[in-house]
């Protein structure tokens, strides 16, 4: 029996896959997503790996459907076996478990496939406290992490590493959990935990069952005794920051004791293969041998002789240690366009300047009528500049470490460039655009062109053409107003809005540069937000406006201009009413 609708379980995506041997279009009996899977299928008298089109269906959806349906005489062998199999385990034909493994040379046995399916379903059952729905590859990721005491999660940016880590923590509700991350990401962790894992109590105090402690690498380094205890899950986010084994942060991270140690990074080999060794030392000491042996056996042959054999061995050696999925691999499960709001903390310097600017403006008074409007607008601009960077607001000195948003952006772009992801960065301010370009050159060594209103049309066209033709680092900085329309930049699949504009339509129009006809990949739009500031208010207005089409100005800048002092202060003050 060959024809007919086949059903295969794909453990790496934790989902079911409907397909047809003759390649004809699949009409799935269940809601799912069109996808391509690598399956081992008969080709003449042998079996070979082929890309097969079909439909992916979530594990629980497929299971319930199988459990509720009656076997039909027209069922293919695989479908019949799975229909029987959900009631009582029985033999499966190869078609039911023919997903090719990551090494490209094997399929899993029927038993191994059944075991992974069972584990995936168990994770889902135990994740009752998870507020949301894990995508298939995320579920597979959580199951994979659960089976390992130490691992590196190196999925592409935007695939939800944070969500997978939070889900892993929820599997151990009686343990205290820890996240170590750069200061610029702490707010994001706290917000994501509140959103997806409301049962996890984020705490500054003593850890206990079901708590989550979020701490910066700096704090860990300065106060490492405080974190010297047994954790359930210990996550090291943006772990490329601790790749230098000689630093105190690396040593402090190595000392952490946990049932599951997870290093998260989009760039496990940012500068070279030695980075991978250093990260492995933190989560799974000794796994990759001594530094010297690792260098001699892998780094030297691969980097000096381009040895494919050594690279293949390294891949085999790390398959149990590193989980990396690219956007392209899981595209079927990604929304065509996703908005991600990224709160970033203000640095102490920024907080100081922000408070000072408010005190000064309210102390002086705004006047009335047109004078008042002008003064309020000037204040809003000043606050926006401080949120962006002290230097944009007139301070002198270096750029690194002084703005939560710029630090976060730098991490993100480092990851994007390493992964070869095209990235657009929009800012309202030409001055900020220049600072970003200069900082990227200093901090990451990458050249990014800056497209702004001061350029001739010829220069603009050249930047756009070069970018689309794949030249340069893949990062392009644009002024929001100069680049809002008329150009196509579909090379990029990531958009970052460095600062916020009251009207979301302006941001959306800019994001449309990458998400338009000709874009066949999922696009992620990140909006950086200085948490606890005026930008919270703008984000709230955005959410409201996107929800209510047509309500263009309510709650925006225009409304602020009409507020009396007391209410205006309430909106603008740090942590104020949004």
């Amino acid at each position: 029996m060959s024809a007919g609708l086949q059903l295969t379980y794909l453990p790496d995506h934790a989902c079911w896959f409907f397909w047809r041997p003759d390649g004809s279009p699949v009409r799935s009996p269940l809601p799912g997503a069109a996808a391509t899977a690598t399956l081992a299928v008969p080709d003449g008298d042998r079996t070979a790996a082929r890309e097969v089109d079909g439909v992916e269906v979530a594990v629980d959806t497929g299971w319930e459907w199988l459990a509720g349906r009656a076997p039909s005489p027209g069922d293919s062998g695989a479908l019949a076996a799975w229909t029987r199999g959900v009631r009582a385990p029985g033999p499966l034909p190869p078609a039911a478990h023919c997903a090719v493994t990551a090494d490209g040379g094997h399929i899993r046995s029927a038993l191994a496939t059944l075991r992974l399916l069972d584990r995936d379903r168990r994770v889902l059952e135990e994740l009752a406290g998870f507020d949301g729905r894990l995508r298939g590859y995320q579920l597979a990721g959580v199951r994979w992490l659960r089976a390992r005491p130490g691992a590196i999660l190196a999925d592409d940016m935007g695939l939800g590493k944070t969500v997978q880590a939070l889900a892993l923590m929820l599997l151990y509700p009686d343990r205290p959990h820890l996240v170590v991350c750069p200061t610029s990401v702490t707010a994001n962790w706290e917000r994501e935990a509140a959103r997806y894992a409301p049962d996890l109590a984020v705490t500054d105090g003593p850890p206990g069952p079901g708590t989550l402690t979020v701490v910066s690498y700096t704090r860990l380094r300065l106060d490492s005794d405080r974190y010297d205890r047994d954790w359930g899950v210990a996550v090291l986010d943006e772990a490329q920051q601790i790749k230098n084994p000689r630093t105190l942060a690396h040593r402090a991270a190595r000392r952490l004791r946990a049932d599951h140690r997870v290093a998260m990074t989009g760039t496990p080999v940012e500068n070279g293969l030695s980075d991978l060794w250093a990260l492995a030392e933190v989560v799974a000491p000794g796994r990759l041998g001594t530094r010297r042996a690792f260098h001699d056996r892998f780094v030297a042959p691969i980097s000096r002789r381009g040895s494919a054999a050594a690279a293949a061995r390294l891949a085999a050696r790390t398959r149990d240690l590193v989980l990396r999925r690219t956007k392209a691999e899981v595209a079927a499960e990604l929304p065509a366009r996703e908005h991600v709001d990224l709160p970033c903390p203000l640095t102490e310097e920024q907080q100081c300047m922000y408070g000072h600017a408010l005190d000064e403006a309210f102390g002086r008074g705004f006047g009335s009528g047109a004078t008042r409007r002008g003064n309020v607008l000037a204040l809003l601009t000043r606050l926006g500049q401080i949120c962006n960077h002290p230097v944009q607001a007139g301070s002198q000195g270096p750029l690194a470490g002084r703005s939560g948003k710029l630090d976060r952006l730098t991490d993100m772009l480092g990851e994007a460039v390493a992964a070869g992801t095209g990235c657009l960065v929009f800012t309202r301010y030409t001055a900020m655009g220049r600072l970003i370009v200069s900082h990227l050159a200093d901090a990451l060594g990458i050249g990014a062109p800056f497209l702004h209103g001061g350029l001739t049309s010829g220069a603009r066209d050249r930047i756009v053409r070069d970018y689309q033709e794949g030249k340069g680092s893949g990062v392009l900085v644009l002024s929001l107003r100069a680049a809002g329309f008329g150009i196509t930049l579909t090379r990029a699949t990531t958009v970052v809005h460095y600062d916020r504009w009251w009207n979301p339509a302006v941001e959306d129009q800019a994001s449309d540069r990458v998400h338009r006809i000709g874009q066949d990949r999922p696009v992620t739009v990140y909006a950086l937000r200085a948490a606890g500031t005026l930008e919270d208010r703008i984000a709230a207005v955005h959410g409201h406006k996107r929800g209510l089409a047509g309500a263009l100005t309510r709650g925006g800048e225009a409304e602020l201009l009409t507020l009396p002092d007391a209410e205006l202060y309430e909106v603008l003050r740090p942590g104020g009413r949004r």
């Binding site: 008969p42 042998r46 079996t47 695989a78 023919c98 094997h106 041998g289 056996r297 061995r313």
Partner: protein, 171 residues
């Protein structure tokens, strides 16, 4: 400094047979062989326990064919037992130590590799050095050369594509 040959225990086992410590004085063939292995030896072609490679010296090509003696049944049984529990996908230094502890030789004496042939010793040793590098890159080769018909221990969860039958594939 980066070690060039013998980075893994399996590679080192071969290296020790090529450069026995008991030899004193300068072995000119060894010096020549090392230098040839760096640039003058093409990628070896391995077929079971047979290895073919071309050595190029002063513009002339020399075909070198080696036959690595397979483990006998007793050695094979000892090796299987010693390797059980070690990752067959990437035999570690510990796996090599387990073989040594079981008294199973990983590398043969180079003199056994081309008995009766007229291959120059320096050329034979050059191919051996080149093999050391191949073994360093993929230590499975060291075992495959001694157990050419062997399937070795394998992961019961995985089925190689070549073994997925077409008959009964769809049930």
């Amino acid at each position: 400094m980066t070690r060039e040959f013998g980075v893994t225990a399996f590679g080192r086992a071969w290296l020790r047979r090529i450069e026995p410590v008991t030899v004193t004085g300068v072995d000119r063939d060894l010096v020549r062989a090392r230098s040839l292995a760096r640039r003058g030896v093409g990628d070896p072609v391995v077929d079971g326990s047979r290895v073919r490679a071309t050595v190029t010296e002063r513009g002339r090509e020399h075909a070198v064919a080696l036959a690595v003696p397979a483990w006998d049944a007793r050695e094979r049984a000892l090796a299987d037992r010693a390797l059980a529990g070690h990752d067959p996908g990437d035999p570690s230094d510990e796996a090599a130590a387990a073989l040594a502890a079981a008294g199973v030789g990983i590398a043969p004496d180079p003199a056994e590799l081309a008995p009766g042939s007229e291959v120059r010793r320096a050329h034979l040793l050059a191919v051996c050095y080149r093999l050391v590098r191949c073994i360093d890159e993929d230590p499975r080769l060291a075992i495959a050369l001694r157990a050419p018909d062997g399937r070795g221990p394998r992961d019961p969860d995985l089925i190689p594509l070549a073994e997925v039958g077409t008959a009964g594939f769809y049930g």
